[in-house]
Amino acid sequence: MTTTTLAVLVPLLPFLAAVAGLLLGRTAPGFVRPLAVVPTLAALALAATVAADQGGGTAIDSATELTPTGSIPIELSLHIDGFAALVAVLVGVVATCVQIYSTGYLRDDPRYPSYAALVSLFTSAMFLVVYSGDLIVLLVGWEVMGICSYFLVGHYWETPEARAASIKAFLVTKLGDVPFLIGLFALATDAGSFEITRVLGTVASGGLDHPTLIALLLLAGVAGKSAQFPLHTWLPDAMAGPTPVSALIHAATMVAAGVYFVARLLPVFQASSAAMVVLALMAAITMVGSGLAALAQDDIKRVLAYSTIGQLGYMTGALAVGDRGAAVFHLLSHGAFKALLFLAAGVIIHAAGTNSLAAMSRMSGLRDRVPDAYWTMTVALLALAAIPPFSGFFSKESVLGAAEHTATGHTEHVPGGAGWIVLVSGLLTALLTAAYATRLWLLAFRGRGAEAPDHGRQPLSMTVVLWALAVPSLGFGGLAYRSLPDWFDGHDLTPTLTTSVLGTGVALVGGILTYGAWRHTTALAAGIPLGAVAAHPEADGGLVEEEAIASHEPAYGDVAYAPDPADPGRLLLGPLHRHAAVGFHLDAVYTVLFVRPVQAGASLVRFLDREVVDTYVRGAAALPRLFGAAVRRAQTGNVQTYVSALLAGTVVLAVAVVLVATGA
């Protein structure tokens, strides 16, 4: 088989698995698990083969036109370069891990068949986005991911949080997708084609008429999909979905799609320096804000969600300084350790029976209950905090190095201001990242208080996956930074001394500060009992998590916040803590700016419909009704009245006839 055929099979296999899973889910439940895992695993193997074939050489392009579509052709085309090949491998790895993990995590879930099929469809859509060489085909995958995220986030639709979160995720990403679609059309109109290589060729020859407009329109879609400020608010709420879905969305698929899209079309954005500055600002605000918010969250998964937003900010920052190699490098390493973090968090939630860090900090011995999760999560958190030699260190240093490179004015097409913005905010975020990673680790595994409940060992399917993902989290960065430039644009990804020392230094400072704060506050924890655990601790992970999410608000007063004075984040953030816990009131601002005007408009329309339009309808009905009542009143049943009317008419007619006959 040629590489092209293999590449076509990569998105096709999970798609067929999804169709088969949806069709057979009820009739043949025995096939559901193999149907979920095997095609994804096969897609991973094929993607790895494609990557090996491509090998960082010249891009593989293949296109076929199904039907003529008018002036601008739309083709089923593949465009596989080093970026696509490696991102596809990452998608395959994470999707396979998630599918295997889900077989244990949602062991007893009655809706597992449809869930697994949707995850397969999600994976297939992401493969399509990665491999597609045509913008319209890419858009198809992009939108399929949107609808799949809606269904998967709303998997626990019995809980109001999940329903609200799924609708929010859908609407917010669609809010970005509308300008994205317009931007795609504008781009294709300027370039004369939807094909990516031809678009890039047009850009290279300077044929783009409105680069800033197009770039900003596309950025809106990217911000929605990749959860960048100001369209990031759906991502923390999407934690209401099952943990494997969070891992899939956050590590490899949905949020990565936006970054990947910008990386692929980077020349289009570079054509407008304004767009690059906007991108840098967006990345900076996202990074710092999410770091602060992550430090104040109580739900372990919301901490990770804000961490995802921050790491995506690093990637967009790398793109803003024009180094897509660094961006995709960080995407790959982040994909590995973030998937690991989420899956480990799922194990911890299952073991502890709660998703609240405040409650976990009052349990001792949680790390002994889940040793696999403890060790792998430690590795992943070190990678997240960018401590050498973990993979996160190398990818993050490549981003900071690129930013420093730009800031000192060594990069063409990119304004130096963007470099400074990304560099400063990146260093600040490194501090915050280390702080919240340390806080998470300390609260989850160094709690003091009652013994954590013992529910026996976690299923093998869940723990094996953790170790499988721990390997790239540990070693990918260090092993790959030398060879990756061959696959990418050729920029050097080796950490520079200045940024390495600075980045690692601020990370250590953040960690030590948090440790100090924790030592200071942890004594308070014993004095204030706090916490609630799930009602069915013996059930599978999915049910425990669903109950934990549903009970968080009744128990602590908010989905994101717990009134815990023993929280080191409270000491570190000071008065900022209250605002950071609710995401700096951005949801409230959106409520005032968008939700209320829309609702007011809806009530106005309702008023107009009820009171104004209906009045005309009722008025139109009133006249016939009035006539009807008058005519009905004539039906008295009195024969004499009838005869009177009859004879009166006769007389009138007779007189009329006589008058006419006599000519009067």
Binding site: R632, Q635, G637, N638, Q640, V643, S644, L647
Partner: protein
């Protein structure tokens, strides 16, 4: 004799009968008014027959013959009419025309008034 005298008298009698038919409440009085109208017609027939038999040599005397027929038919009509009135009276307990309103819009056929009327009719019969 001027023909206008019987003609005008006939018209006035007819209108009087008409008023009676429309205004009277008792069915038998309505029948009397109908008789008035019939007689008005008879007067017309006779008067014109007399005029034509003299003036136009009309020898069939159709007017007088028809008058006789009308009288006979009126007799039959009054018999049948009275029988109907009696039957209605026996069923409803009344012979007032404006109380026989079964065809009215929104008529309640089995109201308490009807029931008592029926019982009364039963007792009468």
């Amino acid at each position: 004799m001027h023909l206008a005298y019987p003609a005008v008298l006939s018209a006035l009698l007819f209108s009087t009968g008409l008023y009676g038919v429309l205004a009277r409440r008792n069915a038998i009085l309505v029948l009397m008014s109908v008789e008035l109208m019939l007689n008005a017609v008879n007067l017309n027939l006779v008067a014109f027959d007399v005029w034509l038999s003299k003036a136009a040599r009309e020898t069939l005397h159709s007017g007088q013959a028809l008058t006789l027929f009308t009288i006979a038919i009126a007799a039959a009509e009054i018999g049948i009419g009275l029988a109907i009135v009696l039957a209605v009276y026996r069923n409803r307990g009344t012979s007032d025309i404006d109380k026989l309103r079964d065809t009215a819009e929104g008529h309640e056929s089995d109201g308490p008034g009807d029931a008592t009327a029926a019982e009364k009719a039963e007792a009468t019969a």
